[in-house]
């Protein structure tokens, strides 16, 4: 039995190798669909991991305010009051807003000065040393052609000129890729508003963030989000993103399967002659089905693994050009920012399974029907 299977495997390998070009043509649509799907799944997983990492190291509670069903700025003085309370270890203010730099709209993030002046590793330049200095994300630097030492005029409520003191690394958090970061007070001055977007609250050990959040929600218009809720939201967003991509690619995959079946049909006459010869040589119907299955296994292994490798090269080595802006709003077609991604065994397994089911579905019925036909009919 083993010897027979080995002989069939050898024959199957020879068959596939002999018609390699035909298989390549039939599998091409499926290959491109699988590359897209594996790359998209890897980016969605990378975004999930980066989001969860941020949630893990972020505050216990994010406090913001709401009016008329929308988020509104919160009183900056609230931070001082919260800091004085038992159970609160640290409160940081944040300002998030948009400003114009010429025709480009960019994100301005105001963070606490202690955080901004903490030395971190930058792509170029150094941390801001005065109020008129800022650091910017790698993608923003590329878009606006800025580098450390460049000057930049920002228009919001006021027009202010900043000197770029440093540029974040391209491998840094994606969320800061197109941001300009200044001190909270500087952002407040830029927007001519003494309020902040949100407060980040860290609770002391022994105090429950969930209970604190429940208390904070009792504030009028108070919106408190705990770390667990952040984690759940990040996961939900990642699922939504990968689900949307899969839903988009499902009809494409169906089309690729139909394409494989149609292109396989063109080889039907040749296949009929081959099968007739095998039958004359003493092959049974079962042998022919096993032969077809082994051929498809070779094709599926080559197809699935090469799609996985190409997706990896596309995302990891080239930075997912053309695909990244579909999954991450605001990125260019050829982003400078390194796109977070994670290649897990599951997408590889699914790619192999999809390749196998598609190729087997496209050929097994034809093989079975041909194996039932009289051998001489094929030579008629």
């Amino acid at each position: 039995m083993i010897a027979r299977t080995k002989a069939l495997a050898a024959l199957a390998a020879d068959n596939v190798a002999a018609h390699a070009l035909g298989y390549c043509a039939a599998c091409a649509p499926l290959f491109f669909t699988l590359v897209l799907w594996v790359a998209g799944a890897a980016i969605a997983e990378g975004l999930r991991r980066e989001g969860l990492q941020a949630a893990e190291r972020g505050p216990d509670i994010l406090l913001s305010a709401r009016a008329l069903g929308r988020h509104v700025p919160i009183d900056s003085e609230l931070a001082l009051r919260l800091r004085a309370l038992d159970g609160v270890e640290r409160v940081e203010r944040r300002v998030l807003g948009t400003a114009q730099a010429g025709p480009t709209q960019l994100l301005v993030a105001g963070v606490e000065s202690t955080r901004l002046h903490t030395a971190i590793e930058l792509e170029a330049g150094s941390m801001p040393k005065s109020a008129g200095e800022c650091i910017i994300g790698a993608e923003l630097a590329r878009e606006l052609g800025l580098k450390a030492g460049s000057r930049l005029a920002l228009e919001a409520a006021l027009t202010r000129v900043y000197t770029v003191s440093g540029v974040l690394r391209a491998t840094d958090a994606l969320a800061g890729a197109k941001a300009l970061i200044v001190e909270v007070e500087e952002a407040q001055a830029l927007f001519a508003d003494a309020r902040v977007s949100e407060l980040c609250v860290w609770t002391r050990p022994g105090y429950s963030a969930a209970v604190a959040a429940a208390s904070l929600r009792a504030l009028p218009t108070g919106v408190a989000v705990t770390r667990d809720e952040t984690r759940a939201a990040v996961s939900a967003a990642a699922n939504l993103r990968s689900g949307a991509l899969s839903a988009l690619l499902a009809p494409v995959l169906a089309l690729a399967t139909a394409c494989f079946c149609a292109l396989s049909w063109f080889a039907n006459a040749r296949r009929g002659t081959e099968i007739a010869l095998y039958k004359l040589a003493g092959f049974t119907g079962g042998d022919l089905l096993i032969l077809s299955m082994i051929e498809n296994t070779f094709v599926a292994l080559a197809l699935g693994s090469s799609a996985f490798l190409c997706a990896w090269i596309w995302v990891r080595l080239f930075g997912a050009p053309l695909l990244a802006p579909y999954l991450i709003p605001d990125l260019g077609l050829f982003p400078e920012q390194v796109i977070p991604s994670a290649f897990a065994p599951l997408p590889l397994g699914l790619a192999l399974a999809l390749a196998f089911t598609t190729t087997i579905a496209g050929s097994i019925l034809a093989t079975w029907r041909l194996s039932l036909a009289r051998p001489l009919k094929a030579f008629a």
């Binding site: 050898a10 190291r57 989000v225 770390r227």
Partner: protein, 95 residues
Amino acid sequence: MWCGRRAALLVGGVLGAALACALVLWFEARRVAPAHAWPQLSVGLGIGSAAGVEHGFFAFDARLESWPESAFEPLPGAAIGASAGGAFTLAPLAR
């Protein structure tokens, strides 16, 4: 045993691709995510901000938010930190 050189090439190619996939997975499993200057910054920029949580998206969501100035009502200061009878107290946190 193999029928020909082409078949041997095919099997070699398939095994090579499978090996390359295994190497990629091994590399990925051992890969350490690049350290971010401020992991918390991502939260502030929308990953976990109230806006980001609400939209279910994670980057650049803050840009989509507009703050209607006329809708803003200042938070009542009296409610903050009032441990007795106020709307806000952390007293229930004490264990």
